[in-house]
Amino acid sequence: MKASILNQINEARQRRKGAVTVSTEAEGVRELFLEDAMPEGLLGDATGKALRTGKAMSQEIDGELLFFNPYVPPVRFVVIGAVHISQALAPMARLAGYEMEIIDPRAAFATPERFPDVALHADWPQDVLMNSPLDAYTALAAITHDPKIDDPALSAALEANCFYIGALGSRKTHGRRVERLREAGFDDAAIARIDAPIGMDIGAANPAEIAVAILAQMIAVFRRRGIETQH
């Protein structure tokens, strides 16, 4: 592998950008593709699959055995709201391998007693996110039911192009939210990126089941990202 490729891999990881190397046994690493400049055709399908699944794999293309090694930044899962759903969601997310953190300015909700072993910020989302900005490998779920807290976080998630953005609330609540986001200057295509009502439709009937629905939807979006734009 050329030193320049090694430097690019490290730079991509530092900037939290995905990358895939392509190797042969005879040459070692032959090429590096960054997530925003993926190749076309069969090579593109294979690099895309490695990047989405986060798993290294071998595939024969044009009679040549190639090894694809993805470098995928760890997912950051930001939940706005230290509520019942978050209490169930935190251990589930940890079991599934996703680092979750909770932001809620209401100090009575965001207590370590209610949320042991979770990164907890008892502060406003806009203040917390200023210090640790969202990015494309971040999922954000806004579930406080309070527009004063949820809206600034949703705006930040749209601006940062988070791969998953979900918001709790009925269709009616979401309708009012859409109006507010339009007034804030977001177009309909951007607003449509918000999954609302939040969570995969499994008929969830209590906070723990809503947590399952949110986690499932976030994972589905993460593992299938880029598939629809590839072809």
Binding site: M1, K2, A3, L6, N7, I9, N10, R13, S23, E25, A26, E27, G28, V29, K55, A56, M57, S58, F67, N69, P70
Partner: protein, 111 residues
């Protein structure tokens, strides 16, 4: 322990970059295939210098010694080499993949 952050974070690719910038000969070993219950998944890295310093892991400690020795040779010849370790062959018994899995490791020179 050196003060360099790359050593402190135990990141093989950062260590490799840092070693290269110091002018050392460096090789990178990568797990390219696994069978059975291999301890480290495909894609795992071990970076090695010509002096036998190393960072990272391809097997959780079972075959690192053999890979480091081969890597020094790879740096000298400046050509990649592929090694296979598994319970079925004698080398593996000697270096010991205790898990019963088999792995294929590509070692390539860097720079």
């Amino acid at each position: 322990m050196p003060e360099d952050a790359a050593y402190q974070t135990h990141d093989p690719l950062l260590a490799a970059e840092s070693w290269l910038s110091e002018g050392k000969g460096v090789a990178l070993a990568t797990v390219i295939e696994t069978w059975g219950s291999a301890p480290r998944p495909a894609g795992s890295h071990l970076a090695i210098t010509e002096d036998g310093e190393f960072e990272g892991s391809v097997s959780g400690g079972c075959v690192e010694g053999a890979v480091v020795a081969e890597a020094v040779d790879v740096i000298g010849r400046a050509e990649p080499k592929t090694l296979e370790f598994g319970v079925a062959d004698e080398t593996a018994w000697r270096v010991g993949l205790s898990c019963g899995g088999r792995i294929r490791v590509l070692i390539e020179p860097l720079g």
